[in-house]
Symmetry: C2
Subunit: 601 residues, 2 copies
């Protein structure tokens, strides 16, 4: 029996024991749902994942999309699989009924999608980007734009992209130069080049809806002069059918280390007369709108990091339980039977490390997903605002921590399996490659760390920072009821103190010192904060497990909860203590990197 894609018992734990997803059914938006409909959606996703994606997972990886100079070719099985997703409705699970959606809570949709992510590699990336694109347009586009473009995307007939990066400016969006010129009919003519556009060309849908950042002639310099446009691959006829080419040319495909099923493209817009673009919202406000999509995309990236970590963990646990090799050090008889490698302490260490990363990261991304729901559908405006404050603050951590620690988990999955982990008979090497992109796209770790330090911490008189610490302290207070959690409440309290002291130094540095120096170790601050957050979410899980174990539970559940407590212990003893190193670098305003000169390299 092959390894299961996801740990279903753990997903159930996350949804219903850690985060109270049952309670969502009391919200008006979700009143038609109950745990049964939630489970049905998850099971449908699992079935599609196993039936359509898993059989082609390796083929998607080994048969990269190709470009023959005219068209992009992707193995046709992917279209069949994506069609199955679209037909099931899972592709737009969270959308309103009137837009063809199921009005499912995002946390349930995310759990369902995790099966597709594991089984399909990034094949699902096309759908996810399309959903994010449609959500942006729905929030900021005119009724006409929504009517024209969102509906076919929700139905899976069109797909969407976000086109931001340019060859000359990379992450520095303020320097982008793609040009927009207004025509008499109110549309714009777009000319310029974009790179690394995921899903920028393919034959999976009838049309591709690009959301393009560009600068209208005469706009202010920098980030304040950027506008957002819908630029479709094909224009539409009056009856809404797909019409003529809109001068969006594929300039090339990038060949990536992983995530190979999803094309990464260089696009050239408007080489002849300019591609026709439709302005989204107001002029010069493009970046604000893009951040709507971007924030959603950042949670998705974190989720990908987490889910791939779970996938590698599941696979390597299964392998370790079934692979006999060697004997324990205490066994001196070479004739005694071999043990399964899961009995070796070092293998258990590598599996615990994975568990602590993977399930810590899953808890984080599902928490973030629930916040993104709460900020829209929670009962009171105070609750909605509070959720918004928390999510806004935590987004750089939700994006980054799983992206950084997911690949570390996957590296352990390879190591557990030894040579078998390094060959493509098993998927863990693919998870490792796929996952490596997550700390790069949608804002690198360095950019997230600057966002955290310069915007998210000081923002609104540190409201987000304070709310987050408030939540952590609440959990510590709850945990104090359980003696067996003493070690962790104490360690987390100390960690929060470390975080506070460090934050104070960092903020002083930004206010009074050389700002370049003050920000030089921003990534260490993000790492420190990330570890505190994950430790917090592990303590939350520990409370649930401890409570459950104090009652009479079935043996398999007993094992499950004991595993949770052991992973909690692992994180607090092997991982959390590292924050002392990072904190001391920050508190001393270490200038090692700042002082280094280009010529000295």
């Amino acid at each position: 029996m092959p390894a299961t894609l996801m740990n279903e018992r753990d997903l159930e734990f996350m949804l219903y024991e850690l985060f109270d997803s049952d309670a969502l059914t009391s919200r008006t938006r979700y009143q038609d749902h109950d745990r049964q409909t939630f489970n049905e959606v998850v099971n449908t996703a699992k079935t599609i994942a196993e039936k359509y994606f898993l059989p082609i997972r390796q083929k998607l990886d080994t048969h990269q999309p190709t470009f023959d100079g005219k068209k992009v070719h992707i193995i046709p099985e992917l279209k069949t699989a994506i069609n199955a997703v679209n037909e099931s409705g899972i592709g737009s699970a969270t959308a309103d009924y009137e837009l063809g959606g199921m009005q499912l809570p995002p946390i349930i949709a995310s759990a369902a999608a995790s099966f597709l992510t594991v089984a399909g590699g990034v094949g699902m990336g096309y759908n996810m980007l399309t959903t994010a694109n449609a959500n942006l347009l729905q929030a900021h586009g005119s009724p006409e734009l929504i009517n024209t473009w969102v509906k076919p995307m929700r139905e899976g007939r069109f797909m969407g992209t976000m086109a931001m990066t340019e060859p000359g400016s990379g992450s520095a969006l303020g320097d982008l130069i793609t040009k927009a010129v207004k025509s008499d009919d109110g549309t714009y003519r777009i000319t310029g080049n974009k790179i690394y556009i995921s899903g920028g060309d393919h034959d999976l849908s009838d049309n591709i809806v690009h959301l393009v950042l560009a600068r209208i002639q005469g706009a202010p310099k920098g980030v304040k002069g950027i506008s957002l446009f819908v630029v479709p691959k094909f224009l539409l006829n009056e009856d809404g059918s797909v019409g003529e080419d809109n001068e969006v040319a594929l300039a090339g495909l990038f060949h990536k280390m992983g995530g190979r099923a999803q094309t990464s493209t260089a696009l050239s817009f408007g080489e002849k007369n300019g591609s026709i673009g439709y302005l989204v919202g107001e002029e010069h406000c493009g970046l604000k709108y893009m951040f709507h999509m971007m924030n959603e995309a950042r949670i998705m990236v974190g989720t990908s990091g987490a889910v791939l970590a779970v996938a590698g963990y599941q696979y390597s646990v299964d392998y370790a339980k079934n692979r006999p090799q060697g004997r324990l050090p205490s066994c001196k008889d070479p004739q005694s039977p071999m043990v399964n490698i899961i009995e070796h302490a070092d293998v258990k260490r590598m599996l615990l490390a994975q568990k602590s990363y993977a399930e810590g990261a899953m808890a984080l991304v599902l928490y973030g997903t629930q916040l993104s729901d709460d900020e829209r559908t929670a009962d009171t405006s105070e609750q909605r605002e509070y959720a918004h404050t928390l999510l806004d603050f935590l987004t750089p951590i939700i994006k980054t921590w799983p992206s950084e620690y997911g690949p570390k988990a996957n590296s352990y999955a390879i190591q557990v399996m030894g040579g078998h982990g390094y060959i493509n008979e098993h998927p863990v090497e693919m998870f490792y490659r796929d996952n490596r992109l997550n700390s790069i796209h949608e804002g690198t770790t360095g950019i997230q760390s600057l966002d955290l330090m310069t915007r998210k911490v000081p923002m609104n008189r540190m409201q987000g920072y304070k709310a987050t610490l408030h939540e952590i302290v609440k959990t510590i207070e709850q945990a104090k009821q359980y003696d067996s959690l003493n070690e962790y409440t104490q360690k987390l309290s100390e960690a929060v103190e470390t975080l506070k002291v460090t934050t104070e130094v960092v903020l002083n540095g930004m206010a009074t010192n050389n700002i370049d120096l003050a920000l030089a170790n921003s990534v260490k601050y993000l790492e420190l904060f990330g570890h505190v957050i994950i430790a917090w979410l592990w303590l939350k899980q520990g409370i649930v497990a401890t409570k459950a174990l104090s009652t009479k539970v079935h043996q398999t559940d007993e094992y499950f909860y004991k595993g949770k407590l052991q992973a909690l212990q692992y994180f607090y003893r092997f991982e959390l203590p590292q924050i002392a190193v990072w904190s001391s670098i920050l508190i001393s305003s270490d200038s090692t990197s700042y002082d280094m000169q280009a010529d000295w390299f």
Copy 2:
């Protein structure tokens, strides 16, 4: 101008400033050499690397060897490149004159080979394994075996492998079951299956000389009943020409994440009448001989980890110096020109991390290589014995530290380059994939850590351990002459104390407690020891740089030495403090992994 393959200034520093390679020319074996001949060999290797390997590096990666059911096909350019290496004599640079070698010191040969490793991916792996194989036979084989097999390998006509791993036993060599039955003519008939045999089949040489571990009928169980055989792919005719097939069948090729130019094979021996094998040395002593090769191979693996780290570092430094993007945080004018990304502190941090890993690892592997020379060619028997003691002790660290930190360096190279690092237009993603194998083959990190704790530390009344600490303390004493190195002498002294205390606890645990528990965190001990060793080698480099800077030096040298000191500082502030975490896990005999149960996962 593309990035240089290796940092030549740094190689010069390592060879002639850090390790006194000039002094080697006073040894009888090397009396024909001087710095000029050393440089010629290095330059020849560089020329071959640039001319033959670099142009096909990407093609070797994207065109994996294929098996058509009968023959293995590798792109023919590799054979041309390997021929160029063989013709240059670099392939057997260290061998005796009478065996067609150049009698070069291994440290010089290693520096030369590094260019080929960077440019050729693992294309050079065929040669390296062949050299290791030939060296083993020369040390332990009969004159007849040496005459028959070593000479054609030195000349590049034959290539060699080591065939140890079996499907059922993996790293647990004691459980291997490949069978050897003695024939009347004194040869043996070999039957069995081996997997992950690097270079196990190909069309690059006239013959392949497999060194095969097998069990002679009636041999003792476990590791004490293993013998070593030469099993050629083709038998030889009486005149030495290549004759008939020896029943060594290719059962399949593995498709690896990296290192793709080198075939990884499943081989089946003797499916009809048994492959003919020639015993090496005595019966049942095979593992001892294999460890001759294995120890050499372990230094090679460490060297690969280090060289690939240097390669990624060189490449990403060059990129960062030439890629304009963004502005410093202190710059608020969006119209000011962009800076090259090397000006961003976080990019400098990632480059410094790479430098500290890459040049720390290079110093370690070159030190190990020099010890492997000293144990054979140092002037006195005391010196030779002392070198042997040190090398024997340090081998698990020389193998592991570069294997673990090399890929981390490569990950930073990717991150520095962002999206550009993730695509195959640039080689850093390949370095990352290639390097990931190094902590697996020739003994995983887990196995090295058990070797260190259970054999290397206690061995000969801790002679190797004490000698190593003696060397470290000597360096600390030297460094005390320089006030500017105070911070480091103090921190390294503290680290040595931590190491001593930890070692004592660990040894007590092994003597008095549950051995399975005592070894449960062995990898943390290896990490701790590794970091102390690298910190020591950085202090050694710091002494040289400080001395040099106290004299009048050319500006480029001034920059070079300042870079060294900055990387030293980075390692001591960002890396070395982590040993506190590992030490505390070991000192508390942490049982988190040991206590975890298979059912709880």
